[in-house]
């Protein structure tokens, strides 16, 4: 399907906070089976509309390979947006946010839009982290904040879409260099006639050492 822009997202946070469930809830709610190993599991893409424009969100979830921390860091690069997720029923996942944020800032494009998400808002009775605490943390570090429930789908759409809006605004402001794919933004095929940099199509941001960030 054609799109005006493609935004790459990453989802980060401790294990068990519901990252993959958020993604599942937002995308087609079901992963494709792996019947062809050369294709693997395709997941995490969805089309949204902002300002009348079709935008494809491609969300990277490193679920399962977090322990390969030397390699998962490289996913940060080449992402335009990040969802930083903690679990409102587990204080420790909130306490680790600083580390995650440092990590993300260090390894990513400096313009990356980060949204803080307090997940599992359906488990109010087991809440350990107050909503105000999340808000305060977000304010302090310049993040957008939202509480979601991957289970009930509350705010899930909004979380992804609001992040996209923020990125879109930054593009409009000219903050993002949309010609550099390392920023995690790609202009849709038919929207980039004047953009030779995108001619090759294939390569992700990860393949351009030395470019773009830090």
């Amino acid at each position: 399907m054609s799109y005006a822009y493609l935004f790459k997202y990453i989802i980060i946070g401790d294990t068990g906070v519901g990252k993959s469930c958020l993604l599942l809830q937002f995308t087609d709610k079901r992963f494709q089976p792996v019947h062809d190993l050369t294709i693997g599991v395709e997941f995490g893409a969805r089309m949204i509309t902002i300002d009348g424009k079709q935008i494809k969100l491609q969300i990277w979830d490193t679920a399962g390979q977090e322990s390969f921390r030397s390699i998962t860091r490289s996913y940060y690069r080449g992402a335009a947006g990040a969802l930083l997720v903690y679990d409102i029923t587990r204080r420790d996942t909130f306490n680790h946010l600083t580390t995650w944020l440092e990590d993300a800032r260090q390894h990513s494009n400096s313009n990356m839009v980060i949204m803080l998400i307090g997940n599992k808002s359906d488990l109010e009775s087991r809440r350990e982290v107050k909503k105000e605490e999340g808000e305060a943390f977000a304010r302090e570090h310049g993040l957008i904040f939202m509480e979601t429930s991957a289970k009930t789908a509350a705010n899930v759409e909004e979380a992804f879409i609001n992040t996209a809006k923020e990125i879109y605004e930054k593009i409009q402001e000219g903050v993002f260099d949309i010609n550099n794919e390392a920023n995690g933004i790609k202009i849709g095929p038919q929207h980039s006639p004047s953009n030779p940099a995108l001619g090759g199509g294939g390569g992700a941001g990860g393949s351009q050492p030395g470019g773009g960030c830090c």
Binding site: H35, I39, G40, V41, F43, G64, F68, S74, S110
Partner: protein, 776 residues
Amino acid sequence: MSTSSSEASGDDPPPKPALPRDRILINVDRHRNSSPPFMKMPPALPPKMTKPAQRTHSMPGDYQKSPHRKFAVVQPISRTPSNGAGYPPTNVVPPFNITPSTPSPASTSGYSNSVFTYPAQGELPYGTSPSGYVVDLPSGSASSVSSGSFRHSMDTLNFSEPDYDLINDQYMLEGSETSSTDGMLQAASPDPPVQAYIHMFGDYSEPSPNFFYSAHQGPGYNGLEMSPYDNLSPCMETSPYDNVQYNTEQPSGSYNSAGNIFRFSHLTPEAGDVPVEAPALPPKRKHLDKDNRRHYTSPSIPSPSMYETPSRDKSISLIEPSPTSTSLEDRPSTPEEKESKGDTATKPSTLDALDVSDKLVFKKEVGYPRKYHTMPKTKGEDGPDLRGGSMDVLIVHATGADKNDLMFYEAFLTTYRTFITPKSLIDKLLYRYNKFRHMSDNTRKRASRNAFFLLVRVVDELCIGELTEEIIQILMDLVFKLLCDGELVLAKLLRNKMLNKCDQRKQLALNNNFSPLSALSVSVKRASLFDFKGEELAEQMTLLDAEAFQKIEIPEILAWAKEQSEELSPNLTTFTEHFNKMSYWCRSCILTQPKAQEREKLVNRFIKIMKHLRRFNNFNSYLAILSALDSAPIRRLEWQKQTTDGLAEYCTLIDSTSSFRAYRAALAEAEPPCIPYLGLILQDITFVHLGNPDMLEDGVINFAKRWQQFNILDNVRRFKQVHYDFKRNEKIQTFFNNFDEYLSEEALWQMSLEIKPRGVRRKPEPKEPPPAESSS
């Protein structure tokens, strides 16, 4: 003990002091006062001359051609075989010890010290005293055994006479032990019992080839069809083993009147056997009580279901819980389970069914002749047609699947842990084995046998950590029971698998305590990356990787998707750590070079190493190094254009576009030996787990999900089967020092900033980088 026995039989007692302290000795005897049960076998052996004659009938090839043939020579043994064979009865006795009036030569020559050895793991499996590892029974116990039991055991043994043939052939099939044991048997020997014993059980310390693994090549698994199990199977259907059961009807119920001959009553479930209470158990064994009970109360033959005893309601869940249950863990026993006790005729459970194919759920499109339940085929679904079934249906289907549906057989074995624990599966298979083993018709006997073979395979593929004392005990009991039933081949098969496992566990324990100190590691001059060829370095990296990769057990990967736990997946965690360490080591090598030129040289050196790693299909190290060269602290520095261009080329392999299409294609083309990047495998298995329900809509197990898991895991197994044959280079390994010397990420970042302070293009960070610190 005779010399020959100590050489050839691992069961023969190594002198106690020679044993590592982390082993426990369980003899053969917990019946130490008597000769071990095995010892009785030999006397039953007819005069040796008969041996060669029998063997001519029973070459391996004969099995399939004429299953009955080999047993033609078997005579329904005389009731007093020991006398007939010219051995004093006292030799024969054994386990249920009847203090022989004359001391048995065997026991005085050291048999009674025979031990099984296996590593202790916290708790001793049998009645043991905390202070000692050898199980001692009160010596008075023996006298209470009736002569009936004695006689019975002799009969059993005698009936099993043809088993020597079978076993011989088994050896020949396995190809490992024939020469030594066979030759010994034929040689005149002063000690026939020992030899026959050795002959029967071989040397467990010498692992026999693993048929299933070696057969498991490629998707067809055709190798399985040639396994000795299949060859043996036809014989068993009509084997005199079963007759043994029926012909030995002497009462043997008084074994444990003194309560000392514990755990043996279940071995001889003859008619007239009086169900007896479990003897008092040492406190430690309390948790096993339940299972023991089940054994003690075995009913009379020919009851097909020895487990269905009055105490059954206390036994573990053997029957499928209600299909509406959606939780895969901690299924409670259902009423259905209890109802089924003892009355299978009116209330057949799935585990008792011979054919469950009408209960399987298949894809809709497939035109099966019968009225299979079908589910609508989901978009994009591919692969095998079987979509699901209840737990017991799947288990029963698996028991018969080794010949008809090898893919399912393998997939079941690979993924069953997602819906049943190994212990419960073993219990259920045991139940089914016992259910049908005394049945006279071949179909049922085959069902019993198939359950047994699946059980053996399950045991063979247990992870070391899964081999709990409880499972060992269940299996030991089964081995004893098989022996007493005359099922010597089956007993040997199972026992060898078990002992191999125990050996592995022992080895593992030993290895963990063993850290070699190379003389090179104390050498003064530090080597550098430039002291070795890139190819050599790549080879040695590959060796390290391969070693860690081989240790990963498939179920660890499966468990990872559900819970990322170091405990559940220890080898996987080690492997991952190795990957990370290697990457940080590589970064440290480069960033600790003060001169830009040197750093550049190093980067190019690593690129060259990657070239070789790619050639070796070692994607793991390849990515570890790539992730280092591509990491922010290194990437942000200034490099020559040719360096960055060279690197970019290597990066295309791991380009994440289309779910790593480039990498997956490369992997699919790679000829083993190959070490894949495990992170992506873990990701795939995680997504399959997260993205697919465990159960289908109607409450049966979603086997389509298991097919997907199997696909992923089988690929890993395929890679694990082929090894690299590089030679270990100690100099290089010492130089690597297991990649233990590296700087922390913060330190690396700091060094990078020192080399090249933040540029003007970058906005100032609100936060200072953390202070550098070394992790090594």
